[in-house]
């Protein structure tokens, strides 16, 4: 097996063994099931909320903690003494974290579509575009946390600290209909808020607001560049 294939296989095992991975799948599912019993078949709020929760947890918490821990433990530096580039490990990690985000989202859609009989997005293509854009913007923030955090523990702390205000502004703690208008407006300029609102647009069958898509794209590009700029290998 080639080094990259082996690295992917081993990193997949490690991701599955990490309890945090399970949480990022289980927590949104739990929210979906608890509130899912009281939603009507026309609900367009709950699934966008739970998908945004799932992506927020992977991007802000799981991914930066994994990457910062690898640097803290000297694993990236150790790799740079072998014929394999340490960047390969980062690429493999990013791909696997994206697969985990997909799996979490897939589980939500499957449970919602079968057990709960909830509405699924009519336009799959728009949904995929919004999903990719939203995930990219959240991963960019995760990469920046990984770049700046001195240790895995610190990355974890920053991630958790950022998650709650972002989740609140994004309307993940309570539906936006029950929030002050000004906070909802501010939330639309955060990546998680733009993501949830775009998803809701998709669920309602309307085209997502281009401003929201622009917000996500801007975060994805600008924050990724900052992360690359500040990233340290050791």
């Amino acid at each position: 097996m080639s080094a990259t294939a082996k690295l992917t296989a081993v990193e997949s095992k490690l991701l599955v063994r990490e309890p945090g991975s399970l949480f990022t799948v289980v927590i949104p599912l739990f929210v979906l099931i608890v509130f899912g019993s009281s939603i009507g078949p026309d609900d367009t709020t709950l699934l966008p909320m739970t998908i945004a929760i799932a992506i927020g947890l992977v991007g802000l918490y799981l991914m930066p903690t994994a990457l910062a821990t690898y640097r803290e433990k000297g694993i990236l530096r150790r790799l740079s003494t072998t014929p394999v580039r340490p960047a390969s490990l980062l690429v493999v990690q990013l791909i696997l974290q994206f697969v985990l985000a997909l799996a979490s989202c897939g589980a939500l859609l499957a449970v919602a579509g079968t057990v709960l009989g909830a509405r699924l997005p009519a336009n799959a293509l728009t949904f995929i575009a919004v999903f990719v854009l939203g995930t990219a913007s959240m991963f960019a923030i995760g990469l920046l946390i990984a770049a700046l955090a001195p240790s895995g523990r610190a990355a974890n702390g920053i991630g958790v600290l950022l998650y709650f205000p972002m989740a609140y502004l994004a309307g993940l703690m309570q539906p936006v209909s029950q929030m002050p208008a000004i906070l909802v407006r501010i939330g639309e300029f955060t990546p998680l808020g733009a993501f949830r609102q775009s998803l809701q647009d998709v669920w309602e069958g309307t085209a997502p607001d281009p401003v929201l898509l622009g917000v996500m794209a801007a975060y994805a590009v600008v924050v990724s560049i900052a992360a690359a700029r500040f990233f340290r290998w050791e």
């Binding site: 097996m1 080639s2 080094a3 082996k6 690295l7 081993v10 095992k13 490690l14 063994r17 990490e18 821990t69 690898y70 433990k73 000297g74 694993i75 530096r77 150790r78 740079s80 003494t81 072998t82 014929p83 394999v84």
Partner: protein, 305 residues
């Protein structure tokens, strides 16, 4: 041709000179020690040889390759154990070896290494569950899994208990027995004395001596002492005879116990005087000079770590 050739290497960090004209070479099959207190440029030197850092000036060749421009090629032939490296907590012993073996074109069979390094019973144990000594054995095995011609071991017994340290030393001797050249970075005198064929003594970014541990110790004419107990009827004159032995600096008597201090090979001369005069002594003890004495003499300061 030497395996490693370092010539006039300098390195500065933020205006501070870390390495100031380092020159040495390492021959094939030897265990070469890099000795010195922390912060004297040992690790920087090794990192430059491994291609992890670039020297500001000077030249470095490892197996005839430049570690920076031929870095990727060179990394096929070297094995590295870094100070402060861990593995992911949930990685199992066999998975780590299997993974690192896949990085190299011509790796060793990692199953053999499992057996050689006493890890076979631990193959399915996760890294976080290993003891300090077991982790260290795995980390060293990982440095060897690429079938390297040169292995770099940096402070490998720091934090190990005495028994695990001894055991690790035996394993290092095994590495040499397989023909792998070993560069051993250490701040432990006993370790270097026990393992190394030759040693470069670092002090403040310079090499102050390169020699075998025995020659380094012999080359130092530090005062040392011997002690013995005289039988109670021994004549006082014997002490005067001892005082006249070449190299003896002082003779002190405290009851039956006599302490003689001196330089170079005075102890042998004193014992032959005692034998010639038929003086019976008991509890004879000669303080061995050690690499610690050599270090103090070479660098003019105590070896504080």
């Amino acid at each position: 041709m030497p395996v490693i050739d370092v010539t006039e290497v300098t390195k500065r960090y933020a205006g501070r000179t870390v390495l100031d004209g380092i020159t040495f070479s390492v021959e094939e099959g030897e265990i070469f020690g890099i000795l010195g207190p922390n912060g004297t440029g040992k690790t920087t030197t090794v990192e430059i040889i491994e291609g992890l850092r670039a020297a500001d000036s000077g030249s470095v060749r490892v197996l005839g390759l430049d570690p920076i421009t031929d870095g990727r090629r060179l990394k096929e032939f070297i094995g590295v154990q870094l100070q402060h490296t861990d593995l992911p907590d949930n990685l199992k012993v066999w998975e780590a070896l299997d993974l690192y073996a896949s990085f190299y074109e011509d790796p060793r069979d990692w199953r053999e290494l499992l057996v050689e390094w006493g890890l076979d019973d631990l193959r399915n144990v996760r890294f976080a569950k290993l003891s300090g000594g077991q982790k260290q054995r795995l980390i060293i095995a990982l440095a060897l899994v690429g079938n390297p011609r040169v292995a770099f071991l940096d402070e490998l017994t720091t934090g190990l208990d005495p028994q695990a340290r001894r055991a690790t030393w035996e394993l290092i001797k095994q590495i040499r027995a397989t023909g792998v050249t070993v560069v051993l970075v250490s701040h432990f005198m006993d370790e270097v004395e026990e393992l190394c064929d030759r040693v470069a003594v670092f002090s403040q970014g310079r090499i102050v001596a390169i020699d075998t541990p025995a020659e380094l110790i012999n080359g130092v004419d530090a005062e040392h002492s011997m002690r013995f107990s005289l039988a109670s009827d021994a004549a006082e004159e014997i002490l005067d005879l001892i005082r006249r032995v070449p190299g003896v600096a002082s003779v002190q008597r405290n009851g039956a116990v006599v302490t003689v201090s001196g330089r170079s090979d005075f102890a042998t001369a004193v014992t032959s005087v005692l034998a010639r005069e038929h003086v019976v002594v008991t509890d004879l003890r000669i303080d061995k000079r050690t690499l610690d004495d050599a270090f103090v003499a070479l660098t003019g300061r105590e070896f504080d770590v």
